[in-house]
Amino acid sequence: MPEQDPDIRRHNFEEVPFGYTPELAQLEAERCLFCKKPKCIEGCPVNIDIPAFIRLIKDGDFSGAARKIKEENTLPAICGRVCPQEEQCEIVCVTGIKDTPVAIGRLERFAADYERENNLIEIPDKAPATGKKAAIVGAGPAGLTVAGELAKLGHEVTIYEALHQPGGVLMYGIPEFRLPKAIVNSEVEYVKKLGVKIVYNAVIGRYMAVDDLLQDYDSVFLGTGAGLPYFMNIPGENLNGVYSANEYLTRSNLMKAYRFPEYDTPIIKSKKVAVLGGGNVAMDSARTAMRLGAEEVSIIYRRSRKEMPARIEEVHHAEEEGIILELLTNPIEIYGDEDGWVTGMKCLRMELGEPDASGRRRPVPIEGSEFDIEVDTVVVSIGNGANPLVPQTTPGLDTNKWGNILADDNTAATSKPGVYAGGDIVIGAATVILAMGAGKIAAAAMHRYMMGIPEPEPALEEESSKSKKKK
């Protein structure tokens, strides 16, 4: 797929890949074997009929392809950009055995973009009104999915969103150059056109309690997302110039600090930035720092390249843009000056030992390998804990020892009747598409609950949902 030149794009916030032209999309679609038993559908957490939409692209019915995707996935332009297709649908693609797999993600993006750019978006037929009402907490990927699904089934849906904009992590977390906010807004607009109402600035757990929602609604979905950012717990983490990735990205993405002073929210102008962590969020932070004008940006990760949780494509893009990977390195102290500003960092070299609980080889410090690096900004990107606001204020809602809400794999039901949950608040920090998968499961179960339809036998379902979970 054609994309912006690295030397140019590292200075702007515009999207990196340009997307397929119709000709390129059709060429790519022709590579699909249209398998009788398509493995790609099973690989997709929301079970999009992939061969069917690819066939429509091949036949030149691009908006038909978009509508086909939307039967299963309300947010295709988003998923086409941020889904890890290489470990879901594309990894099982039969074409991929001897050649590169069909670029399913890029085709999904193409179909959705084509439909949007040509104003061809149509609102599907909805089921007749049921008279039932559902409240959704959080307008992120999980919440938007549940809302869209329930609205199509004829329910009245209201989303309560804590921030002043919809999208959750799609808006505050993922940068413009990877997911343009106009696209998020457009897909949210689609969900609203299905009849979903969104109330902004409503922090459930403070503004209203879940029990208050249960007075007015027949069921409630909790999709509050990732919560409190983790820090390293090393000396110097409260110095000026140390950010959580959440804060760094929120300032830049949601608050548009990259356009300061046109926008009022500031962000520190850095020269040398160290980003701690090896996930997609770390890549996003590093690439944001580069675009904000930093001279040197390093990613400090304690294991090797092989163990990095980030998508290969993201690491590749980051390296192309000149970001340095400091692998097998662990920071142990952040140095500061007397005014409280970061001046540098003390690090340790690591080597890989035996595999740990996650199956990845455990990093072990090499004795006497301490060394100092000069930095003025540190972005800590090592994950998030659960936000306590909803669990603390909702009697009868069970959580695990980390504070994540406990929800059934097959129904997303929590311990509290009528209350369902999914996304990062249940499984910890994961992906957009896994949150959406959970949203679909929850929507189906909430529909049954509100309509008094008995739960189906779980026997077969269990197997498939478990295997999906592991990804």
Binding site: R206, N238, N246, D264, P266
Partner: protein
């Protein structure tokens, strides 16, 4: 939504807005705050809820104009509305009948102190409030603080009104007189809270402070508001805003509050240069 029903200028740079916000007015408790964003390009800033009227569905915001965002908000008039008001945020004050409670407020810190003093008095405490400002003209909420307290004492730095000196001087004289105090609240500029805590620590007098650091989301997601309390990092928005003042690292707080000074100056200068309120 968020219509401004009433605006008052309390002092030179201190403004009061009564804002229509029925749900927040209904559920907010003493000690809680809101985050506001004035307009589309605005930043999210935390502001104290100085008072609320559940029946009228209004909350009262009091703020000092210190930078662009507060100056911009100060330009809003009756009939205007604030784009975003989020809350109530933070944990409410722990209220019970402690006995005699001293409530110290300095400058704009009198605003968050007011609902706390009021709630403490309603819970049966003997509330001795000590409020202070640089000079008489900058002293706010005198009448309301008098109503919210059993006794009200006032100081000004220049002696233009009340005791010549600081609120801590008044507290010292209460202690010297042998006043039996069960609990202290100290809310105001960081140096004032630090001074109050240095004093009360000598007498082992438990002191609660309410912190107002830089915040972004206010729901625990970003960690901008972290502060060291008792050697541990806390998030003011979800763990606070109130903490044991004897445990707070005020030196670190001062440094962190200066993280964006150059940008704050740039923003403010630009705002003034472009005509100030005309750019609402």
């Amino acid at each position: 939504m968020n219509n401004i029903l009433k605006k008052r200028i309390l002092a030179d740079d201190m403004k009061e807005l009564v804002v229509e916000s029925p749900q927040i007015a209904k559920v907010r408790k003493a000690g809680q705050f809101v985050i506001v964003r004035a307009n589309e390009t605005g930043e999210r800033i935390p502001l104290t809820i100085a008072d609320a009227d559940a029946e009228a569905g209004t909350i009262t915001l009091i703020f000092q104009e210190v930078g662009k965002s507060t100056m911009l908000l100060g330009c809003f008039e009756e009939g205007d509305s604030i784009l975003d008001v989020v809350g109530p945020l933070g944990k409410p004050t722990h209220i019970e009948n402690f006995g005699t409670v001293v409530c110290m407020g300095g400058g704009a810190g009198i605003a968050p102190l007011h609902p706390i003093a009021k709630a403490l008095k309603e819970a049966g405490n003997r509330v001795i409030s000590i409020i202070g400002a640089r000079t008489e003209d900058l002293l706010i909420m005198q009448k309301r603080m008098k109503e919210a307290s059993t006794e009200l004492l006032i100081s000004t730095d220049d002696g233009s009104f009340g005791v010549h000196g600081f609120v801590t001087d008044i507290l010292q004289s209460l202690i010297d007189k042998g006043e039996k105090i069960n609990l202290c609240f100290a809310i105001g500029p960081i140096p004032m809270m630090a001074a109050a805590c240095r004093l009360t620590k000598k007498y082992d007098l438990h002191t609660v402070v309410s912190l107002n650091p830089i915040m972004v989301d206010g729901t625990g997601m970003c960690g901008a508001c972290r502060v060291t309390v008792g050697g541990k990092t806390k998030f003011v928005c979800v763990d606070g805003p109130e903490f044991d003042g004897h445990e707070v690292d005020f030196t670190e707080m001062v440094k962190r509050s200066r993280a964006y000074l150059p940008q704050e100056r740039e923003s403010k200068d630009r705002f003034i240069h472009e005509g100030g309120c005309c750019h609402k």
